[in-house]
Structure formats: C-alpha cells, structure tokens
C-alpha cells in the first residue's frame, strides 16, 4: 500500500482553509486529515506553510487530438495541465474528426490516460460530425465517458437542434455546454466591438452576440425543464442574464476564463494588436471585466476555465487580422489569476478563487466523477501544492504544451503550482523543487 503524508500545509478542502495541516494518502485516496499526523511508512511531503488544494479542474481545454496533433496532442496537453496544477481537464470535441461518436470518446479517454499525467475527460459533440444537423448518440457517448455535450468552437447551429439536445439530455445525461455566440453578429469579427474596434478598424464582435445566444439557451431551458452550461462568458449582459435565470430557479450554470478575468481590450491596444491577445470571445471592456468579477463573487459564475487553445507558432505568429483565435495558458493560468488577484482584487477571498477551480467545476461533472475537487477523507487524492512565495517568469519555450506563445510571455508572476498529484501519484514537480 503506497502512502504519502503531506505535513505542514495550509489545507484548502474545496470550500475553505481548514485548521488541520496534514493529509495522509493511501492507495490514491485521502485516508486521513488532521494535525500533527505521523505515519512511519509514508513518504513525507513537507509543506513549510505552502498551500495544499484539491487538484484544479478545467472544464474547457482544446488538445487538437485527433487530427491537429502538431498543435497539441493529448499527451502534451495532459502534461501541460499537470504543470499548471490541473488534475482533471475536459477536452473539447472540435477536433478533426470531431468527437461525435462513442469510439472517439474512448480514443480521447485512452490516449489521455496513456499520458499518465492530468486526467483527460472527453466532451462529446451535440451534433453528428459537429455539422449542426442531427444530435449525436448521446446515450452511447455518455456511456463511453463523455462528460459534456458541446459543439464548442461554434454555438449549436439552430434553436431547434439545441432544444432537441436539451430535451434528450434532460437532467440525466451530461450537461449541454453552449458556446454562446450569435453567428450573424460575429461574422468577420476580430475584437470586442467598442474602444478597441473603433481605434483599430478591426471588425468588432458586440457583446450582444453572446447575450442573444445566452438568452436563447435560457428560454429553451425554461421550455424544456432541462439544464445548460454556458462556457467562456465574457460580457456584462450575459452575466446579468444568467444571474436572473439562476434567481428564477433555472438550472443554468456558466464559466469564464482566466484571461477574461485578468485582461481586457486595452491589452489588445497596448500590445499594438499582437495576435497573442486574439481570442474568441474577444477580450472585452473594462466594464465587462468588472462584471465578470462581480459574477464570480456573487455566485453567478460557477467555474473558471482556461479555454486553452494551442496553435503552432507558424500559425499564430501572423498579423492580428490573419492569426487564429486562441490563447494557450494551461501552464500559467493559475499563476496568472493568483498574481492578478493579489495585486488587483485583494478583496476577493482566495478561497473563492480556489473553489471556482476545484469543487465548483467538479459539481458540474457527471455522477461518476463526484468526489473530485475536494480534500475529504475517502476522496480521490488529486492534489496541487501552491507556493505563494514562488516568483517565476512565464517562459513558453519551456512548456510541455506545444504552444509557444501566450500573452504573459516574459512576465514575472508570483504564486505558482509546484507539485501535482493524481490519485496520490506525483505527476509533476517544479524543477526548483527537486
């Protein structure tokens, strides 16, 4: 029986920091939590006051596998996640081919597991081949291991199809995860419609594009009695719609990204329209960014995700208008957010941030995965060690991810994950810790 004793940590259990400072892990599960625990035959991990949290859970990441493995594959993605403190990653299905049948769900699961790093859970498409015409074999795909259904990269093509998907999934099958976007308002868009589009001449993407699709989803949830999850929410109007839907008792949940919380359109302008800052949905206004933080604090926003979107440098290193959308961030996302919070939002409790990265996203996964995202006796020993004092410069050249650029390249950040464990097995350790 393999045993691991974490001693001298500030332990965050998924909701709050607890008074106990020791966690004993046996055979991949948390056996005991207490103060001053001893265990003669356990390997000891000394905390020295560092933080021990449940492993971070990212509900939205892109791994380009199958089909575009030169951008990222399931192995490099799983390693990148581990190096960012993530223990569970949900892989979006907009690959080539799209993950819209059970065999491909199994492919993602098995190839992800072979990496022996962060756990990769597949999301399946809503529509066959992601063509927006017919719903997939959702029962079979759920049975194979799909944890969400989404046509991410695009919204579900028609209201009729989304309604069918919501009726079919109900509250029994995994949630439908909607990429909220009204296509006719998005066409050709490059940046947020507002200051950055006015100054740059780039075609704007109005916040209304997102709001309209969120409103559609809410109306259909009300109509079907089902549930929906809106992903990468970016604007104030969408936050308000979801807040009201929750108040009305609808089962509507959402996430936002690390980059929308920590950057706004001014970063695009300030960078001289550097393609590193090109992302969909676009980095929005200061007011939108503020609304996301308010939504995080008041519970409207359930989870924080990366929307990790890796591209090969040859594809991303282009003039802004010609570069693809997407920010790769798995390896620095947690540090970006923790550093930003400490400097700009100190009034937001650290517990809240960690909750949105652990227990809250875990709660949106299917029944089989309940028990992730917490440190509790009997729970799965997915754990992340955070060193709040560690300062490091973001260096994409050293990443496990195949992506080689991100908005924070060259920036010094403080508060980094330094060790990651999945089911009690160490999957990553910062070189400086060795």
């Amino acid at each position: 029986m393999e045993k691991l004793l974490f001693k001298g940590f500030k332990v965050f259990d998924g909701k709050e920091f607890i008074k106990d400072d020791c966690v004993l892990v046996e055979d991949g599960k948390i056996a005991k939590i207490g103060s001053g625990l001893e265990c003669a035959d356990a390997e000891v991990v000394e905390g020295n006051g560092r933080l021990l949290t449940p492993g971070f859970i990212d509900l939205h990441a892109h791994f380009r596998d199958p089909g575009l493995e030169w951008n990222e594959d399931l192995k490099s993605g799983a390693m990148a996640g581990a190096a960012g403190g993530f223990t569970t990653l949900v892989a979006m299905p907009n690959t080539k081919p799209a993950v819209s049948e059970p065999a491909l769900v199994e492919y993602v699961l098995s190839h992800g597991a072979a990496a022996k790093a962060a756990r990769i859970l597949p999301a399946g498409c809503v529509s066959k081949k992601r063509e927006g015409k017919e719903i997939c074999e959702m029962e079979k795909m759920a049975e194979a291991g799909a944890v969400f259904f989404t046509d991410d990269g695009s919204p579900v093509a028609t209201s009729h199809l989304l309604r069918l998907a919501l009726l079919y999934t109900g509250k029994r099958l995994p949630r439908v995860m909607e990429h909220p976007e009204e296509i006719s308002l998005f066409q050709g868009g490059q940046v947020h419609e507002g200051r950055v589009s006015a100054m740059s001449g780039l075609k704007g993407i109005p916040g209304a594009s997102e709001e309209i699709d969120v409103a559609r989803g809410i109306a259909l949830v009300r109509d079907t009695g089902s549930r929906i999850h809106f992903t990468h929410i970016s604007c104030a109007g969408a936050v308000e719609l979801i807040r009201n839907a929750k108040r009305a008792g609808l089962d509507v949940t959402c996430d936002t990204t690390f980059h929308h919380l920590t950057l706004n359109e001014n970063a695009v302008i300030g960078s001289g329209y550097n393609s590193r800052f090109k992302v969909n949905p676009p980095l929005r206004s200061v007011e939108d960014q503020r609304a996301l933080w308010e939504g995080l604090v008041d519970g409207t926003i359930d989870a924080i995700v990366t929307d990790h979107a890796p591209w090969h440098m040859d594809e991303k290193d282009e003039p802004f208008q010609e570069a693809p959308f997407g920010i790769a961030s798995l390896e620095c996302a947690a540090a970006v957010l923790l550093d930003y919070r400490a400097k700009n939002r100190p009034e937001v409790p650290l517990e809240l941030i960690f909750t949105k990265m652990t227990s809250a996203p875990a709660a949106l996964l299917p029944e089989k995965w309940q028990g992730l995202g917490v440190i509790a006796e009997g729970a799965c020993a997915d754990l992340t060690v955070i060193d709040e004092a560690r300062t490091r410069i973001v260096d994409c050249q050293t990443w496990h991810s195949k992506a080689r650029c991100c908005p924070w390249e060259g920036i010094a950040l403080t508060s980094w994950p330094v060790m990651t464990f999945v089911e009690g097995r160490k999957i990553w350790q910062d070189d400086e810790e060795l």
């Binding site: 419609e193 200051r195 208008q321 010609e322």
Partner: protein, 308 residues
C-alpha cells in the same frame, strides 16, 4: 530637431512639434518637385522595396516617384508572383527582405496589424505603412495635413468635418489623429451603420446630419464609399446616401467661406461628392495628390537616414 521615428506605422505617437518639423521638410521637398531636374541624392545607395499586397496604383506610384526623386533604388515586389501567393508566411517574407538587404519597405496590406508585424520582424529595415486593412494610412494623413497647412498656415482651432464611411476607413482613423494633434476640432458624419461604435473614444464628436457637421467647417473631407457596402446592407441606396451625406454645392455653402473640399481619391462622382464640388474652386483634391509626393519624400528622407 532630432528625428526619432524610423518605421512609421501610424502617426499616433507623433507630437505637434514633430508634425511642424515634418511639414517644413515637406515644403522643401515640394520645391524639388518644381525643379527642372527633379532629383536629389538624399537616399542614393538605399534600397526601397514597395511591397503591395493590395492594388493601389496611386499610393504606389506616389511612393515610387518620391523614392526616385531622392535617388533611392526601387523594387516593386510583385505579390501575385511571390511566395506569399504560395503560402509563405509574412515572417518568411520579412526575413527574405532582410536577407536581400532592403533598407526601406513600403507596405500596403489588407490585414490590420500587418505593417506593425513586419516592423517587429525586421532587425534593420524600416517599414513605412502604406495602409494596413481598415486600421491606418499615415502617409495619407500627412499629405492631408500638409495640404491644409499650406492653405491655412496654423491649423490650431480649425474645424474639419469627415463625412462618409468612417467604419472601414483607414484614412479617417489616421486623419482624426493627425488633425487633432494639430489642434483641430474633428467632427465625423455618416450613416450610423458606417460609424464605429464608441466613436467618441477617438476624441471626436459624431453628428449624424452632415449639414450640421459641416456647419462652420474649414475643411470638408469626403470619404470614399465602396458600393459593396450597399450590397452588405450597410446603407440602403447610393441615392439615399448622396442625398444625406454626399457633398454638393448646397452642403458646401454651410461650411465657412473658402472651406476646402478634400478627398483621398479615387472619387465616386455623384456618390460622396458631386462633380461641381470635386472640380470646383474649393476642391484641393489634386493638390492632395501633389502633396502626397512631397510628404512621402519628406518621410523617406527623415526615416531613411537622410537627416542624420
């Protein structure tokens, strides 16, 4: 004054003093244009590459004339036959230009940020932006300011009304910056569907009614309307456009006496500008074309090291 600019992507980082210095240089360059032998040795031995990814006969010829009058060697890069058409990235293009020893690259490209990107990849070469998508057209702004400055002397306190498709206009964006830096009041007018949202962040006012916008204006600048915008549904018809935002003599009467009618060319007669205005006594459209050569000479001279 020590000239600090090398590549010029836009004029948003130019001070008023730099503009004034530049205008003075442009006047000297215009004198060269009037000589029997229109050639000075300022850029002798320098290699200029005109890299045009979009068709633009006027701007390219204007640059080429300016380069030749300064005795630079000129190469016009034929994009359709280049590796770019075969899928070469702009990074490769930049490195190729560097390897070939280009000193100055004049680039027109359909993508916003292309000139900035090219400049970021060149270690030694100078990039002069001849228009990047709908973003910026700094040399158009320089020639516009120069044309107005020659007429009015100081531009402080003058009012310019830019009328038309501001949303898709790189000219408008650079002109707003340039004329504001020179102390002008800038008013924009045009259909709301051809106006950027949050346009006030450019430091201008928007007046939907062109008649109100041009009231007491010293300069009325008509922006080119592309007919395909009508196909996109951004305005209902050319007739309706001309009636509300096109410049005819009636509209020009609302501006100050002696107000200039300006246009970046080529003009759509009867759409954004009526012939009687385009060819009338207030029109400085051909002066703008001439100013284009002088100001591009000044820019090449200052940025290309002629002043050092």
């Amino acid at each position: 004054m020590t000239w600090r600019h090398r590549s010029v992507i836009d004029v948003d980082d130019w001070t008023r003093e730099e503009f004034l210095f530049f205008l003075d240089q442009s006047r000297h360059m215009e004198n060269v244009m009037d000589r029997p032998v229109k050639k000075v040795p300022a850029l002798r031995g320098k290699m200029c590459v005109n890299l045009f990814f979009e068709n633009s006969t006027r701007t390219r010829v204007s640059f080429e004339l300016a380069e030749k009058m300064l005795s630079a060697d000129v190469v016009n890069w034929s994009v359709s036959g280049s590796s770019t058409a075969k899928g070469e990235t702009m990074r490769d293009t930049a490195w190729t230009l560097e390897a070939m020893g280009a000193d100055i690259v004049v680039m027109r490209h359909g993508a916003v940020g292309a000139a900035q990107y090219l400049a970021s990849k060149l270690k030694h070469g100078i990039v002069l932006n001849a228009g990047d998508g709908t973003h910026a057209h700094p040399t158009q702004a320089l020639l516009d300011v120069y044309t107005a400055w020659k007429h009015f002397g100081s531009l402080e306190g003058r009012k310019i009304a830019l009328v038309g498709d501001v949303l898709h206009s790189r000219v408008a964006r650079s002109d707003v910056i340039a004329f504001k830096t020179m102390g002008c009041e800038v008013v924009l007018s045009g259909p709301p569907t051809l106006m950027p949202r949050e346009v006030e962040c450019l430091g201008v006012t928007y007046e939907r009614d062109a008649r109100k916008a041009v009231e007491d204006a010293d300069m009325v600048y008509l922006l080119r309307i592309q007919r395909e915008r009508q196909q996109d549904g951004l305005f209902p018809s050319v007739d309706e456009y001309h009636r509300w935002w096109g410049a005819d003599e009636e509209l020009m009467k609302l501006a100050k006496p002696g107000a200039l009618a300006m246009h970046p060319g080529p003009i759509n007669r009867g759409v954004e500008i009526a012939s009687e205005v385009a060819d009338g006594h207030q029109s400085v459209i051909l002066e703008q074309v001439r100013s284009g050569v002088a100001t591009r000479m000044a820019l090449l001279y200052l940025c290309g090291g002629g002043a050092r």
